[in-house]
């Protein structure tokens, strides 16, 4: 028996066929990917449903916009590009990431709760101070290549709960 015989014997074996279900699963995944790709521009521009955590982001966005406004009216330092120059430079690059990715999920995970003790707003209305630590997690996907983007935002909120004595 020589090498050619061994190769001939091996080639006589046919690899086991996959299950019929596998083809269906691949078809489903490819259709889903095509749907994501086709729907990408519309979904990104669609107004998302407003949730509680977004109010914080809104305020952050307003702050960032104010900062940009202040910077734009400040006199430009020599040697540094102006705001319009920066804008022109950015326009020549690729489309912004937010135009290409789809939001997938937003979740909030409670991490810890600190008990700040009981205080009195008025002599007859005790209240408990709580500090709630949480982690917001936002995920996006780029339908073109399946890349996933995850942003985690730690949050601390102070909560005041009225206390009633039985």
């Amino acid at each position: 028996m020589n090498d050619a015989n061994v190769e001939h014997l091996l080639r006589s074996l046919r690899p086991a066929a996959p299950s019929a279900e596998l083809t269906q699963r691949v078809e489903r995944d490819l259709k889903l990917a095509a749907l994501f790709r086709d729907a990408a521009p519309a979904s990104v521009t669609a107004k998302p449903k407003r949730t509680v955590w977004q109010s914080h982001l809104t305020w952050a966005a307003i702050g960032a916009a104010a900062a940009v406004l202040v910077m734009s009216v400040m006199p430009a330092r020599p040697g540094l590009p102006t705001g319009s120059e920066l804008t022109n430079q950015s326009q020549t690059t690729e489309a912004p990431l937010t135009d290409r990715i789809l939001p997938v999920s937003s979740s909030r995970e409670w991490v810890d709760v600190e008990d700040g003790g009981i205080s009195f707003a008025t002599p007859d209305s005790p209240q408990r101070q709580m500090r709630v630590h949480s982690l917001e997690r936002h995920q996006w996907i780029d339908p073109r290549d399946g890349a996933e983007y995850t942003v985690e935002v730690p949050k601390v909120e102070s909560v005041v709960l009225p206390v009633k004595y039985q």
């Binding site: 028996m1 015989n5 014997l9 091996l10 690899p15 996959p18 596998l22």
Partner: protein
């Protein structure tokens, strides 16, 4: 990919490649079901990046299968350790690697056993060469090894198989190999 015209394209490509990919994936997975999961993930990713199914990129598909299978194997190993510690065990599975004709079932089992007993790096090259139909250069691209290394491993694998199968020559009914076609 055109979602309607491309539908037949991917199916034809998948029908041709899936058995080979499945065989390759099973080298690193504990079950046929896991291997199918690996092939599903790898093929979908590959087709999205390579919508026409360009055959020049097939070695990359095998590379993707290996990467995903190894990742899955690592997590499966961790899970198996956890389950072993908690008195649960992974179900064992013995699905055949090949679809042998009924009359040759014993011979097929003998050959399958011989291939499975090869060192993993030799088995990988034999799988890609014999059933994947890849050239040495393509195997080198898929495995990240040099062409010389790939060729050496294939040579060692054939020697090992020859040594193991020679005593069973009669059982295997080893017919002379077809004469090579000279152009």
């Amino acid at each position: 990919m055109n979602s309607t015209a491309g539908n037949e394209d991917w199916q034809a490509c998948f029908q041709e490649l899936a058995p080979k990919l499945l065989l390759y994936a099973r080298q690193w997975t504990t079950s046929a079901a896991d291997a199918e999961d690996v092939v599903q993930m790898a093929f979908v990713r590959w087709w999205q990046r390579n919508p026409g199914g360009d055959r020049a990129h097939v070695p990359l598909l095998y590379a993707a299968v290996k990467t995903i299978a190894l990742d899955l194997h690592k997590s499966a190993t961790r899970r198996a350790k956890r389950e072993a510690a908690s008195d649960f065990a992974l179900p064992s599975e013995d699905a055949p690697y090949f679809d042998p004709p009924v009359e040759d079932r014993e011979s097929a089992r003998l050959l399958e056993r011989a291939v499975l007993d090869l060192p993993p790096e030799q088995r990988e090259v034999v799988t890609l060469r014999i059933w994947g139909g890849l050239t040495y250069a393509e195997i080198a691209q898929a495995t990240g090894e040099t062409t010389n290394t790939v060729a050496s491993r294939y040579r060692y694998a054939l020697n090992n198989l020859h040594r193991v199968l020679e005593p069973h020559r009669e059982d295997l009914g080893a017919a002379p190999a077809p004469a090579p076609v000279v152009a």
